[in-house]
């Protein structure tokens, strides 16, 4: 191997290795690479001085800026709350009627409420609040609990239904068939009767519907009322209207009576601030009514 041999074409030194007559030029790393390497190193030196970086034996270098991401985000959230305070303080102060009478305030409520609803409520109730099987349609305004007043809505959002909150609203449709309270033929009769209340049994067997009425009077009136219009203090739905939480076909209604139902609304007090709950209450209360 010959050191300091020069390539005749370029005049540059070679590595001294030769493979079947092919030699390799000894090309040094371009200077620009060293330049950027140096620049990057200087950049990191500056960062090491400004930000928390190096672990020491008992602690770590805190940096000259004293940056702490946990404090940064706390300040950002606080600032955001302050910048919204012009209208959120009014929400906190005013009553529901006053808020709804204030168009400027309502614009903010609609905007923020839509985001809050999308992040928290839409998974079950749908983006348009129209619900789905097992999850109530809020736009239909066929309330299961309370009179649909903002106060009643706020209570439902706050404590939930069958939730982990100590003050939770509690309701349960019993499993009349599964738990052996009613034989199958009586369940079928009461299903026919309940469906007939909404004129869903046009060709129904009048005798069976009459039998169902007897079963209903003996078993269902305690919660759903003698007129089957439901009781909103126990969350028992109105069976005469066009809203069906679990479907209106005979099979679905049969399943409801046979296996029972127990919906669940989470304990939102554990997740949302009182202000958020108030905004959501106004948002839901002022949803445009969309019957099913």
């Amino acid at each position: 191997m010959e050191l300091d041999k020069r390539d005749v074409v370029t005049g540059r030194p070679t590595t001294g290795h030769e493979w079947n007559g092919i030699e390799e030029l000894e090309t040094p790393i371009p200077r620009v690479v060293f330049f950027f390497l140096g620049t990057a190193f200087v950049f990191s030196l500056i960062c090491w001085m400004l930000y928390p970086t190096w672990p020491l034996i008992w602690t770590y270098t805190k940096g000259m800026l004293g940056t702490d991401q946990k404090q940064v985000v706390a300040v950002q959230v606080e600032d955001a709350a302050l910048s919204r305070a012009t209208w959120t303080s009014e929400i906190e102060k005013k009553s529901y009627a006053e808020i709804e009478a204030d168009p400027a305030l309502m614009r903010s409520v609609k905007e923020t409420g839509h985001t809050l609803f999308g992040d928290n409520c839409a998974a079950c109730h749908g983006v348009n609040a129209t619900g789905g099987a097992g999850f109530p349609n809020l736009a239909a305004k066929a309330w299961l609990w309370g009179d649909g007043s903002p106060e009643a809505l706020e209570e439902t959002i706050r404590v939930g239904i069958n939730s982990t909150n100590d003050d939770t609203r509690t309701s349960q449709m019993l499993a009349f068939g599964h738990d052996g309270m009613l034989p199958t033929d009586q369940i079928e009769a009461v299903v026919a009767y309940v469906r007939s209340l909404s004129s869903l049994e046009p060709a129904g067997d009048a005798k069976r519907i009459e039998a169902g009425k007897q079963v209903f009077a003996a078993n269902c009136v305690a919660c759903h009322g003698e007129d089957a219009k439901g009781k909103r203090d126990v969350g028992a739905p109105d069976l005469t209207d066009a809203n069906w939480l679990y479907g209106s076909d005979a099979q679905s209604v049969f399943t409801t009576v046979y296996s029972g139902r127990q919906g669940h609304m989470p304990n939102w007090a554990a997740r949302l601030s009182p202000l958020d709950i108030k905004i959501l209450t106004v948002y839901v209360h002022t949803l445009e009514k969309k019957p099913q």
Partner: protein, 247 residues
């Protein structure tokens, strides 16, 4: 830089090896050194509870099905994340996660605090067919979870493995792992009381998939999802402590 510097280095074999070791160890040092002061960066959470055997099984299913590929479990210290998902994640909250499932990609939402946000029924319906409840969802269906019985006979070994890497499971927990997994999903059975005895009263004991007679993979995964973010409430206290530190 002298033009033939590398020539000298490359011709000195021992020196070259030492140089390689020296440079490579910088990378190692940068990764290992922060562990020397880990007690400074990981918060204290004396109230932290352990994953029950059923939740641990659910966690294994979460890993098996690759949920972490689309869902992170790490709320960062950014305002939009804190406002959407809740308090930012603390290091201590992953103390018993072996391996951690922070993830780095969010095709779906972050799940660090999804526990208790939706009902069991919603979770089950969503896993069976996400489009049933969220029409615009692109998440795949996981219907087989409801059909597959959960394997619970070997859960004691899973707990023992976790104990070997530092999770403080007691011998009673390991011995009763199979019964506890069954009990947590069957609230009316004789095994249910042992779960709250060993893992705390706040443990969710329910028929997660709606059927108390069987323990399915659905039970396990939903039990796991419903506890996410609720092993300790340290994160909920943290912002208050931060605010005080500022003043």
């Amino acid at each position: 830089m002298p033009e033939f510097f590398h020539r000298k280095v490359e011709r000195n074999a021992i020196g070259f090896v030492l140089a390689i070791v020296g440079v490579a160890s910088i990378g190692g040092f940068v990764e290992i050194a922060p562990l020397f002061t880990i007690h400074e960066t990981v918060e204290e959470a004396p109230d932290m509870r352990l994953y029950t055997p059923l939740e641990l099984a659910g966690r294994n299913i979460y890993i098996r099905e690759g949920c972490y590929a689309c869902h992170s479990q790490m709320i960062r210290t950014l305002r939009d994340e804190v406002e959407r998902y809740g308090p930012y994640s603390l290091a201590v909250e992953s103390k018993y996660d072996h391996p951690m499932l922070w993830g780095s990609k969010r095709t779906g939402p972050d799940l660090a605090r999804v526990g208790g946000k939706y009902s069991d029924v919603w979770q089950v319906r969503h896993l069976m067919n996400p489009r049933d409840v969220v029409p615009q969802s692109i998440m795949p269906r996981y219907g087989w979870l409801a059909k597959n019985d959960l394997r619970i006979d070997d859960l004691g070994e899973h707990l023992a493995a976790q104990r070997a890497v530092g999770v403080p499971y007691t011998q009673a927990m390991i011995d009763n792992a199979t019964q506890d997994a069954y009990g947590q999903a069957s609230p009316d059975s004789n095994y249910a009381s042992g779960v709250s005895e060993r893992y705390g009263k706040a443990t969710n004991v329910r028929a997660f998939d709606g059927d108390p007679s069987r323990v399915t993979e659905m039970d396990a995964l939903v039990a796991y999802l419903q506890i996410l973010g609720h092993l300790t409430d340290a994160a909920y206290k943290q912002p208050a402590a931060q605010a005080e530190a500022q003043e």
